[in-house]
Symmetry: C2
Amino acid sequence: MWRTHNCGELRLEKVGEQVKLSGWVQRIRDKGSLLWIDLRDRYGTTQLFIEGTSASAELLEIVRSLGREYVIQVSGQVIERISKNPKMATGDIEIKAEEIKILNTSKVPPFTIEDDTDGGEELRMKYRYIDLRRNPVKNSIILRHQMMQYTREYLAGHDFLEIETPVLIKSTPEGARDFVVPSRMNPGEFYALPQSPQTFKQLLMVSGFDKYFQLVKCFRDEDLRADRQPEFTQIDCEMSFVTRDEILAAFEGLTKHVFRKARGVELEDFPLMAYDEAMRRYGSDKPDTRFGMEFIELNELAQGKGFNVFDQSELVAGICAPGCADYTRKQIDGLTEWVKRPQIGAKGLVYVKCNEDGTFKSSVDKFYTQEDLKNWADKAAARPGDLLLVLSGTIAETRKALNELRLYMGNELGLRSNDVFKPLWIVDFPLLEWDEETSRYHAMHHPFTSPREEDMHLLSTDPGKVKANAYDLVINGVEIGGGSIRIFDRQIQQSMFDALGFTKEEAEKQFGFLLNAFEYGAPPHGGIAFGFDRLCSMIGGTESIRDFIAFPKNNSGRDMMIDTPSQISTEQLEELSIFVKKPTE
Amino acid sequence: MWRTHNCGELRLEKVGEQVKLSGWVQRIRDKGSLLWIDLRDRYGTTQLFIEGTSASAELLEIVRSLGREYVIQVSGQVIERISKNPKMATGDIEIKAEEIKILNTSKVPPFTIEDDTDGGEELRMKYRYIDLRRNPVKNSIILRHQMMQYTREYLAGHDFLEIETPVLIKSTPEGARDFVVPSRMNPGEFYALPQSPQTFKQLLMVSGFDKYFQLVKCFRDEDLRADRQPEFTQIDCEMSFVTRDEILAAFEGLTKHVFRKARGVELEDFPLMAYDEAMRRYGSDKPDTRFGMEFIELNELAQGKGFNVFDQSELVAGICAPGCADYTRKQIDGLTEWVKRPQIGAKGLVYVKCNEDGTFKSSVDKFYTQEDLKNWADKAAARPGDLLLVLSGTIAETRKALNELRLYMGNELGLRSNDVFKPLWIVDFPLLEWDEETSRYHAMHHPFTSPREEDMHLLSTDPGKVKANAYDLVINGVEIGGGSIRIFDRQIQQSMFDALGFTKEEAEKQFGFLLNAFEYGAPPHGGIAFGFDRLCSMIGGTESIRDFIAFPKNNSGRDMMIDTPSQISTEQLEELSIFVKKPTE
């Protein structure tokens, strides 16, 4: 037996007991006649104590040969500490070491195993197995484990069946890029890894499994950003014979459950907001509703007064930054520079200071009277001391830039706390988006999303106007997940493929199995998927999803630790009937 | 709202209530003035009742237009049945239908949705979404769901952390063939899909997560047999600071837990048997211990009596088939033909009938006296009426063939009931196997398996003699899973790679990350993995694992339903920097 207890569990009531612990050497203090070792494992840290005067020479020699991260086994007696450490769970006791065995040595780790480590990102990725020993990363992985159990506990408890869908599936050009897998047994043919189990979960509904869920790996061969991984995990669900509101209720319940269990937070009921309204009020379909500063549309008040920039704009809109009227010239210039950065894309910034004395000072004073500006301030419900920040341009540009500015000001004013959670459902998305480049419609969600019942007749006549029966869960400005009521009628699915510019043959080739399935008694159904990595990082209170993935990949899709992707042997390529294109070809 | 209740839940106490149900039309009986519909969903079947005389013409028209597997919604009142059906959970009631809406039509299904269907395997694979509606398949998928919950409940309850390991990993030539995934961002380089998360779970131990588990998809590009799938699911576990017996106890506990919860069976404690003993007594490292008929080695008694075949054999061994002395000449000839089939490979079969009168009749009477044969019978503890069946040849051939014969006779004699479960642990496997073809050793388990402590010194001197600290769980002759205590010392791991004929460079290139990790405080650890598909089929009481996989592939690795693998576009190949080899090349 390697241990009788772990390093986190011994308390005062065990004093006098003979124990055996195993773990890692976190720290050694050698005061000559008195030595202490902090022994660490997953469960905590326990202090070992060696009295230099009474300990055997052999024991002392071993202790003095130890280094950080050595793995040792200690036998000894639990004793009460003279100076207790109330910050440590085991701080009332220590182990009087009688025997120490070195189970394994360790080189000096490339960075310190502390909450604030001295290791850079790249080094920590390469030595991920060491980084995982650090509390913040370790605790993130443990939180993820708990979230998985809570999620399944809730869903299985609500009659959802966990059903595994295949990983080796079929490539479809719709959506993002697929990862593919050459088939040795079928030369020239490939599997694809699923971007989501979408069609399979719909087939499960056709089969009659009316509530399905899975915590499932999905794959997208996209150019990576900081918060994207080529493989990621989804809470994936589908239900039959349900309305939109029943699905929302079920997953609002799930979300409340995991927040309560994992974080001790009771979420309030989630409001619904239509996509159009979210765009108008926040310029975004994932508004951060932890704070106000909603958009004020000023076209009526600001146009026709001789200010060309506004007059030629499709939209003039602003936000009211509370208590910022005292911003200096320099601060305002800074904001102006910020919104003009290419990522934000505004051409300029108009401000109106609502002075404490009831007067107004703006960057466009020569076009607008005090009364004009008062009208703006009134529409914005601005109070003395507030600052209006106004942008203009096309609707899309203005909303995009003003959304960014709103979030920026929210940060500046400390309105975006990680300890506050504001969820809401965004509903009634457009079904289709027009793509100028290819001159065709794309599905905003995916091609299986049902139009709203009341818009069904527009699908063939005015597809751009059709709203989808789709919904997203947004918390604190982050899209946690989304879903839709699906099409379950072969004819409507065919019309959808038509609207998306699929030929009959393409539709049949790629989704024939689903179209066929719809002819054998497909029930009305809908579903949802949550990004599990992101949900974990939100509940964990950090921005990066990487901490919540045991072995993440970097931005080039590379696992720095195992050094992959990598070349494979000629024999492997041969067996798979493929060639690699040489750089010269 | 699509339904107020499901089709399995209504009982007498609901009589008089107005309800709404949705589901599939299982059966229609039209007696002219009285009509009944069996409405089915995942939860059961409810009878709908329509009185031809009182129903509206509209309702009757709808009812008479229905076909099998139509999806309908019915509104009506729960009434007590006149002739109750005690075989149906809802058999006391029926619904007096007031309104029926057709939610979707259905073509006539290609096979009947009955427990015993008329559909062949291939047709059912193509229309898997319909096959999944049949009770035996549906119940298998539900059992699998339950098994997943029980497994996690047990492991999470025993402090195991569920940690996801990556799916896009590195190809290693050791073991079976990898599926590979070309990397678009790293032209000419590939990921591999994991055959198991072996190295990652060991790295998690180095990280200090001392109890890990995962229900994880694994992938092997092997030529498929009936019970193999290119992707399969494993209960994968690893523990630190544990002895072999602690691991066995933990997973004996898990196995008992899932048998108890899923099948209501209390398993007895699992005995341990050494590999050598299993081979001697059963000729197999996965013995079916539901029945005896153990091997009797007869070399001492049967050699040196002038029977050349036996005299030249490395092993003469038999089994005692109880009560089979009355086998006819024809039956014995049949057995002889059976063992001579190439798959079994015996050259012939010797029998000894132990007659009721105490005499013996054998096929080798001219070489052996009655006393000789009595000695054989005594060694076999045969009773009058039993039949000895004896094979000979090399040890390996004889054991293999006699094992097959034993299993065959077990089936013949009805000793292998699906309702009896006999688990045991096989331990002390050989570490290495000599491969004649490549003239080198292969790891019997995998290259990370630790030699037994007491055999460690043989690793460099007599590697073939070394026993591994490895173990398999066998139930009813089926290998459910296996594992080992791992090497956690870089030097020993290096010696193991040496014994396997790896060069230093190869070892470094393929497993350098693991060897490096062993230098930063790797704890003693070991683990185990269970084949989840197989465990489900064992508890479900059927041979085929396919019923327990929602969307299985056929023996060519093809998904018949979605028709994949399939060709991908030239643009995709281009982006991935690969060519497909034309058949002519």
